[in-house]
Symmetry: C5
Subunit: 108 residues, 5 copies
């Protein structure tokens, strides 16, 4: 799944029948620093997410599973609203040469 | 789904049998600012979209679902014509460190 | 589907059984300006394409559908030979702030 | 599969029913040099991985297979904890023009 | 499929049951010039490939097909060892405005 923030909504009157009745959210992917990264996507809402909320979303078959519509024209869905994220910055900012928990051998 | 604009059409006489009769649209992915981003793709039309229209499109299985042809050689389809998009710029341009609706803890 | 040009062929004697007998084409993805973009991929040919031809190709399940081998180790296939592409440059080079056919509202 | 390091955890109270009970790990993709590359993803844990561990993860259907939930809203899963990685640097840093084991002909 | 070179091996004792017994190869994607591009991936070997060999690999369902394990936690597999690759450089380095074999019309 991916981190994102709902930044808007989209209306399409002419659309695939499987999308009728679905709330379409415009979601901006986020980095670990909660900065926008990459381009916004259009998703179906499956958890009642609102504009401004930080969410997790899925792509592909997982999004149709979330929508409960395996035959739908859906390839992205908001599947959770983030309450808390705990990041251990040691592993993000300064990655040691050895994994600490394991061993990497680089043959020459 | 992704935001895009139909920018042209494509004709291929020799093609997979599952594509015969399909209208092939050349679609340019768009950013939230409606600027072109990434490379154009070739898609089947499932909603009667025309050149110049802003659309949403799907990739992969969702596109075959939209075309109603799960066995086809299709991996991209236009599935909706955008009527309106409402973006809350606060969440796009200045993303706060905290989500506002949730809590992110960054352990040191 | 994606725009590409067949730039070569590839021979692999030791390969997955499902690839035996398949013609493997090296295909370079193309931009709308017919410039190479991204890295070349190796694909099965399903339409009798030759080196130098501009083609459309598919990725994933669609490529196995094109090859008529849903159980194969195939994830890319050439599925059409491009005869003509008509691009309306107005929509590629200068994208207006409004879609012209629709309405985008950006809340502040 | 992809190389990554678990850098944190994520809590989402409101989420797809198929995610209830799953431990959600925030995982940072790694390069061969164990440097962070690309953006972190949110994954279900299927092997008891902890923060700081170097892991391999899968995307798409493979992640639902790992979780044993083909119908779930899952598109990424940690599927192994790396004990050792042996890299032959000759092939990473100085790639010869010929493959050594094979033959590449570039027609002019 | 994609061009790559096997650059190493990886050992993970704790891993998904479907990966037990599989040889895990670290494979570096290659450009047409046989230069490393993008990040290395971890793959199951299905053709007896060794470190240093130039290979083709597949992603997604195709990799599970190659491994003969549709239910496995596999999303990448080496599926062929490259013996020869013939590239027509004319089409890689100087792409003409017209495809030569077809016709592109750019409406103004």
């Amino acid at each position: 799944m991916y981190l994102g923030r709902v930044v808007g909504t989209l209306v399409a009157t002419r659309k695939d029948a499987s999308l009728v009745g679905a709330k379409l959210l415009v979601t901006q992917p986020l980095s670990l620093d909660l900065k926008p990264i990459g381009e916004a996507k259009v998703m179906v809402d499956t958890v009642g997410a609102g504009v401004g909320e930080m969410v997790i979303y899925t792509m592909g078959t997982a999004s149709r599973n979330a929508a409960g519509k395996p035959e739908a024209a859906i390839d992205a869905a908001v599947v959770g609203i983030v309450d808390q994220m705990d990041i251990d910055r040691r592993w993000v900012e300064e990655l040691p040469d050895t994994a600490g928990k394991g061993e990497q051998t680089f043959a020459e």
